[in-house]
């Protein structure tokens, strides 16, 4: 994983309405979403968004319905124009692009997967998967191999000649993903790509995405309103509320140190043992403990450690990374981490 910043959003504002500039001044003067709607009859879509997305990482943007997730992701390929702010991709200002350059960005740099799949109903699965190629002017015999390759990769061997309506929802979304992959773009935008699927299929698709990511190292911007999904996929998690970023950072970090009652509420129901990993809870030390009960891997989740301990609350384990000790974890610390951040919780309630 490199540390290059692929996409950088700076001071982005979006206001929907007839006269966004005037409303923008009001918002920059500190007016909130509800007040803006009441006094100016403008909808505050996004306010003061600053996000850096690293190349090869999955950045998950999470928020409740209406928090502005779709609006934000559509700014990246300029399906929506911002009211103010800047968007840099590989250091280039996307907002300065002319039509031709923007089209190239959409064709070669960014692909998108949609919640409602948005496949062409009158084209076969193969033609759908090959869409990014025929849009660029390739002929059937040129794109067939490439599209088939990606269809096979997402588990749709031999379905190329079907029509989308003949496939189940999960399979249709696989076509959607194959279509995004065929474009061979370094950036992939996914707007609630799995939200329309039922839970089991959804888990399958998440695993598929993680699998693909291990191999392809794309820069993925993934939108969801589901915390479990966010925690499973995210390298970097951005939490959005009413159009502004409440908190962003490493997901484990956010879980352990939520900085806002909104987030505390959000995370209060999740299974922390399954989501938290040893690395976030361990004590960093290279000194070998006296009564070590054994070794655990640094990326194991707490649940597996608890299972290993068989309920013993005084056990201590060595935490190993690449065969070397990176730290130790005691069951006492582990148990403490399982309680939702007490202090923060008490402040709210």
């Amino acid at each position: 994983m490199s540390d290059d910043i692929k996409i950088s959003i700076k001071k982005l504002y979006k206001i929907f309405g007839d006269d966004p500039q005037t409303a923008l001044e009001a918002v920059q003067g500190g007016m909130g979403k509800a007040e803006l709607l009441e006094k100016h009859n403008h909808v505050l879509g996004l306010q003061d968004i600053n996000i850096d997305m690293r190349a090869g990482e999955i950045t998950v943007i999470m928020g409740l319905s209406g928090s502005g997730k779709s609006t934000l992701i559509r700014h990246l390929n300029r399906l929506i124009e911002p009211t103010s702010g800047s968007i840099l991709i590989d250091g280039e200002d996307v907002l300065a692009y002319d039509e031709e350059r923007l089209r190239r960005l959409r064709r070669e740099w960014m692909s998108m997967v949609f919640q409602k799949f948005a496949l062409l109903p009158h084209r076969t699965v193969l033609e759908n998967a090959a869409l990014p190629l025929w849009v660029r002017g390739f002929k059937e015999e040129e794109f067939e191999g490439e599209a088939t390759k990606w269809l096979d990769r997402v588990g749709l061997e031999g379905q190329g000649s079907q029509y989308p309506h003949q496939l189940s929802g999960g399979m249709q979304q696989r076509v959607g993903i194959a279509r995004a992959l065929t474009s061979n773009s370094p950036v992939m935008l996914m707007d609630e790509a799995f939200s329309a699927l039922d839970p089991l299929i959804r888990t399958d698709m998440q695993d598929l995405l993680l699998d693909l990511q291990k191999e392809l190292h794309k820069t993925i911007v993934f939108i969801t309103h589901d915390l479990d999904e966010a925690l499973k996929l995210a390298d970097h998690l951005v939490i959005l509320k009413d159009g502004f970023v409440v908190q962003q950072g490493e997901p484990q970090e956010i879980l352990l140190n939520p900085n806002d009652p909104y987030i505390v509420d959000f995370i209060s129901d999740i299974n922390r043992a399954r989501v938290l990993r040893v690395r976030s809870v361990m004590e960093k030390t290279t000194s070998v403990p006296e009564h070590s009960q054994g070794e655990v891997a640094i990326d194991d989740n707490l649940e597996s450690v608890i299972a290993k301990s068989g309920g013993a609350t005084d056990a201590i384990y060595q935490v190993m990374r690449d065969g070397q000790q990176a730290g130790i974890i005691s069951m006492k610390d582990l148990m403490k981490a399982l309680v939702p951040t007490e202090a923060a919780t008490r402040e709210v309630r």
Binding site: N77, L79, L102, R103, R104, L105, R106, R107, M110, S111, M112, F114, K116, F117, A118, L119, L120, P121, H122, L131, P132, V135, Y163, P164, H165, R179, S183, L189
Partner: protein, 344 residues
């Protein structure tokens, strides 16, 4: 003395009124009054006429009568007719050629070529042997009672006009779907074309073109029948799933690619529904257009009415019904095939 004298004297227009004393034809009422030898008496409040042009003319002869309105329209029309013809004539001339050509080809080709050809087309667009059999039997029945030529004339006119309707209507519909302003201006025109009784717009057409030219009825049919294909093309494109359009944009399609590869194919069921209606309306109009010398089954219907030849009119009417059923079934069937191939 007339009821509204007072109005003009109050306004101080008596001088202007008296200038026109002698001019103007006698109004109908005056004439009747004079022949009956009645003298004008004061009218009671129950008999006060509406202040119409004629009533005001009675009080003030400089005021125009309503007949002058229609006369003015007529004169206006006649005066622009020549300049209008200068560019309308060459513009519409190809229509005459198309119609005459189609009629000629349809009749000059022997029946044993035309009928199989028609059936082949039916099979091609509907893929239904049942329908082919139905069409075959219907046409042969018409031919058997010696209505083949008339039916083929009607068909030829419909083919040409419906084809031109699609050729013109689809681009207009597409343009409308892209611009809300254009849509706002076009819809009232379409409404008018659809609500005006066909007889009414035959009138200016007769003035503009000579009745012997085939383009006269061609234009009448096209004006009448083009509306649904425009409307439904516009509607169909506007109804294309916004998510799909967004995907097309997100993958960097040009407007052209979006139009030809996404919008038109997805709007096709609606466009075809428009084509179906357009064909049915051409058929309705081609019968009426026999009044202005359009050949075909309509001529026989007209003969039935004019000469009170009951049988001729009824049989021709039956022929029209058969053609209508054939055209409707064939277009509906091909529409159903398109629908089946792209359901969601």
């Amino acid at each position: 003395m007339a009821t509204y004298d007072v109005v003009f004297s109050k306004l101080g227009l008596e001088d202007w009124c008296s200038q026109g004393e002698t001019s103007g034809p006698l109004s109908m009422k005056d004439l009747l009054a004079r022949t009956r030898g009645e003298s004008e008496t004061d009218t009671s409040i129950w008999e006060v006429p509406f202040p119409s042009m004629d009533a005001l003319n009675e009080a003030c002869s400089s005021f125009p009568q309503s007949r002058e309105l229609t006369k003015g329209l007529e004169n206006g029309f006649l005066s622009i007719k020549d300049s209008l013809s200068i560019f309308l004539d060459p513009l519409t001339q190809p229509l005459s050629w198309f119609l005459d050509g189609a009629l000629h080809v349809m009749l000059a080709t022997p029946w044993w070529i035309v009928i199989p050809l028609l059936l082949a087309v039916v099979q091609l667009v509907t893929k239904s042997w049942k329908l082919v059999a139905f069409v075959g039997i219907s046409i042969c029945a018409l031919a058997f009672i010696d209505h083949y030529e008339y039916a083929m004339q009607t068909l030829a006119i419909i083919f040409v006009c419906a084809f031109l309707c699609v050729l013109l209507g689809v681009p207009i519909g597409i343009a409308m779907s892209r611009s809300d302003t254009l849509q706002r201006f076009t819809i009232p025109v379409l409404d008018m074309l659809q609500t005006l009784p066909p007889f009414v717009y035959l009138i200016p057409l007769i003035f503009l073109f000579s009745v012997t030219e085939s383009k006269l009825y061609g234009i009448a049919i096209i004006l009448y029948a083009i509306v649904p294909v425009i409307r439904l093309t516009n509607l169909g494109i506007r109804l294309v799933d916004q998510d799909v359009i967004e995907a097309a944009d997100a993958f960097g399609m040009t407007d052209r690619q979006k139009l030809y590869r996404v919008q038109i194919p997805l709007a096709l069921p609606n466009i075809m529904a428009g084509v179906n209606q357009t064909i049915m309306m051409s058929l309705a109009m081609v019968v009426i257009a026999s009044l202005v010398s359009a050949p075909g089954l309509g001529v026989l219907v007209l003969r039935g009415i004019r000469n009170l030849e009951l049988g001729v009119g009824l049989v021709a009417g039956l022929g029209i019904v058969i053609l209508a059923v054939i055209l409707d079934r064939v277009t509906k069937m091909s529409l159903a095939r398109i629908n089946a191939s792209q359901k969601n």
